[in-house]
């Protein structure tokens, strides 16, 4: 079996299994815990309105902006770049459609008659480059900022690595870097994405899911009291 076959076959399957089972295990492991009933008289009955914190907290209050703007801007830069490249790069879309056909026997087009939108390759290259630059900046910040250095652990650095790896190897494959055989580059790119999937449930990358639960819970608890969100 060639490296590419391995990456497209068992490695892909296993990483998806680990991802799905791991994410469910970790999410359900906390979401299914009991909560105590709150007997206090609410100030505001419609606590669910606190769910607006999920959107609200996406940008800091003006009072806090000074010290956090760098982190916010860099954070947005790499998340947006990463997600757009992941979901709207033509080869990715073809790849996902392929998986969908393998699993469901059909794809988005077959199901709805719609085509998944894509971005031009040049735009994706630019987005990936921005994303990589922002991730490098974030890493440097983690190392030079006394606060972030103190609170960081293995997870922070490893999660960074598995996030930047698919971006970097993807750019390398697209550029047919260094005269390596394309198949090899592609295999390494796929494997790096699979590493990301397999690591996802265990470290802080889980924030992509927990963020909604955390902001939502706090929002509802605070809204009930009329406290500041």
């Amino acid at each position: 079996m060639s490296l590419l076959d391995f990456a497209r076959g068992p490695a892909l399957q296993w990483s998806i299994v680990i991802f799905v089972v791991g994410v469910l295990w970790r999410l359900l492991g906390v979401l299914l815990l009991r909560t105590r009933k709150d007997h206090s008289a609410p100030r505001k009955e419609a606590a669910w309105k606190g769910l607006r914190l999920i959107a609200l907290r996406s940008w800091p209050r003006k009072e806090f902006l000074g010290g956090t703007a760098f982190g916010e801007v860099m954070g947005y830069a790499f998340h947006i770049g990463f997600l757009l490249a992941l979901f709207f790069f033509v080869p990715h879309v073809l790849f996902f459609a392929d998986i969908a056909r393998g699993l469901l026997g059909t794809d988005l087009h077959g199901l709805t008659g719609l085509n998944w939108p894509t971005l031009p390759n040049g735009v994706v290259t630019l987005l990936s480059a921005i994303s990589i630059a922002a991730l490098v900046a974030v890493l440097i910040h983690r190392i030079v900022s006394p606060v972030k250095r103190l609170i960081s652990n293995f997870d922070d650095y490893f999660s960074w690595l598995v996030t930047i790896a698919p971006l970097a190897t993807g750019m390398a494959a697209f550029a047919h870097l260094g005269g390596w055989p394309y198949e090899q580059l592609l295999a390494v790119h796929l494997l790096s994405a699979e590493l990301l999937l397999a690591w996802f449930p265990f470290g802080k990358l889980m924030h992509a899911f927990t963020i909604f639960a955390a902001r939502g819970s706090t929002g509802m608890l605070f809204e009930r009291k009329g406290a500041s969100l």
């Binding site: 492991g29 909560t35 007997h39 939502g216 819970s217 969100l229």
Partner: protein
């Protein structure tokens, strides 16, 4: 391991001749209580922390991405730029314990020994972070991009520290006193009754005590009883002014709750239940809490949960009560032609939700309100909440933090700084004395009482 408190020790003497009330500065600190061996202490701390984990706290524990932004919100970090004061770092040993003992992947962490067991030395080191340098003000909880309520986790960690017998000397001493005498600062029923009698004579005002039935049950904080007794007079005057059917009760007059601040859940409950039972006994419709932030958290938001069912009465902070009287047209006030600024008590405003009530009262007083920046929910803490003002070894750090408040208030150019929390107020008095500042913090309650239009005489 520091020395543990000998059981035969005399109780620490209280100190009333200083700008803030606490026990006298201990010549010898005992920051460890009880006789348990180290390993047992750690186990108790972690078990207690992990045991009362509900869904929300667990979600928080799973969510931190170590972005460090919470540091920017914390006054202790702001003034020192010392990374150990990063809010989430204050929970580090507890986070480790959670991952190792409780999280969905705890079995992996244990099997591979990925998170080492926490030691007693670490916990002792962390005492400074969990108590001396956290006022549980919740400002960090407004910053966290993940929406983690970090302050609630600090409270939970304090339960663990209490179970382990690792509470700072002063907090252990006053909580013990509260358990024994019903008041952390010596405001026993007898002291309270005597004070009320003396105040009633001195100020020619009727102070109702132990009326068998009453619509409104009032409570005071021990800081007010011992240090700002004019607040008792002010409460009585206002109640008479609006013609309330009200009373104090000697079986439930003290709203201060050091059980909450220390992390002693049993004492917290005991103290809360006293007020609840007193209110039920006199058939009160409303319990009016004093100018005290954490008393509000303890009864307004946690009281019913201590009681195990909804409270059969309404709980209001005095500022909310006053605002309600203003709206009902029952408070007739003289206009105060001064400029004022309002210091938001964290537990009342940011975390308690009574954001506008004190401002409405100020408006009714006709002052020109000049808001600080930041204000309301984002206002800076005075630095004395969460029991911090009682801890002597925290004084230096607390004074540093107080500079933020002085600057904020100076910037408004307002003549009258006003607040509605006796604990904030004593923190201001202490800061004022320390810095020889020319501004004195005022009580909203007393300001109202001083400006009642008494037309019946």
């Amino acid at each position: 391991m520091t020395e543990t408190t000998p059981t035969t020790r005399e109780p620490d003497p209280l100190e009333f001749d200083q700008p803030r009330v606490s026990i006298r500065k201990p010549e010898h600190r005992f920051d460890t209580q009880g006789e348990a061996p180290d390993a047992v202490r750690v186990e108790r701390a972690m078990n207690s922390f992990v045991r009362d984990f509900g869904r929300t706290a667990a979600i928080y524990m799973e969510s931190c991405i170590h972005c460090g932004m919470c540091a920017e919100a914390c006054h202790f970090y702001e003034v020192t730029q010392d990374p150990q004061y990063t809010p989430i770092w204050k929970l580090e040993p507890f986070k480790q314990a959670y991952k190792r003992e409780y999280g969905p992947f705890a079995f992996v962490y244990r099997a591979l020994n990925l998170k080492p067991k926490v030691t007693v030395d670490e916990l002792q080191q962390w005492q400074h972070l969990i108590y001396d340098s956290c006022t549980v003000c919740g400002r960090c909880s407004l910053m966290c991009p993940m929406g983690i309520d970090i302050a609630s986790l600090v409270s939970q960690a304090r339960h663990g520290m209490f179970k382990a017998g690792l509470v700072p000397h002063e907090l252990a001493a006053v909580t013990e006193r509260a358990r024994r005498e019903g008041s952390p600062l010596g405001a026993t029923p007898k002291v309270f009754a005597d004070r009320c009698e003396w105040l009633a004579d001195e100020h020619e005002v009727e102070i109702t005590i132990d009326k068998p039935r009453a619509d409104v049950l009032c409570a005071m904080s021990s800081i007010e009883i011992m240090k700002y007794p004019e607040s008792i007079v002010a409460t009585a005057r206002i109640m008479r002014h609006i013609g309330a059917d009200w009373t104090f009760r000697l079986d439930g007059y003290e709203a201060t709750n050091f059980g909450l601040l220390t992390g002693d859940a049993a004492t917290q409950k005991e103290l809360t239940l006293k007020i609840i039972h007193a209110a039920v006994a006199c058939g009160a419709r409303v319990v009016v809490l004093p100018e005290c932030g954490h008393a509000y958290t303890a009864l307004r938001w946690m009281g019913a949960n201590m009681y195990g069912k909804p409270l059969p009465f309404k709980v209001m902070h005095i500022a909310e009560f006053l605002a309600e009287q203003v709206h009902a047209g029952k408070l007739r006030l003289r206009k105060v032609n001064r400029t004022a600024t309002f210091h938001d008590p964290c537990q009342l405003v940011r975390r308690g939700g009574a954001i506008e009530a004190p401002r409405e009262v100020l408006q009714a007083l006709g002052v020109e309100l000049r808001e600080m920046y930041p204000t309301k929910g984002a206002n800076w803490c005075c630095g004395g909440g969460g029991g911090v003002v009682a801890i002597h070894r925290a004084d230096e750090l607390r004074h540093k933090v107080f500079r933020i408040k002085m600057e904020q208030i100076e910037e408004t150019g307002a003549e009258l700084p006003v607040t509605s929390c006796a604990n904030c107020r004593q923190t201001f008095d202490d800061g004022q004395a320390h810095f020889k500042w020319d501004k004195t913090m005022h009580s909203l309650l007393e300001l109202v009482a001083d400006n009642l239009v008494e037309d019946e005489q």
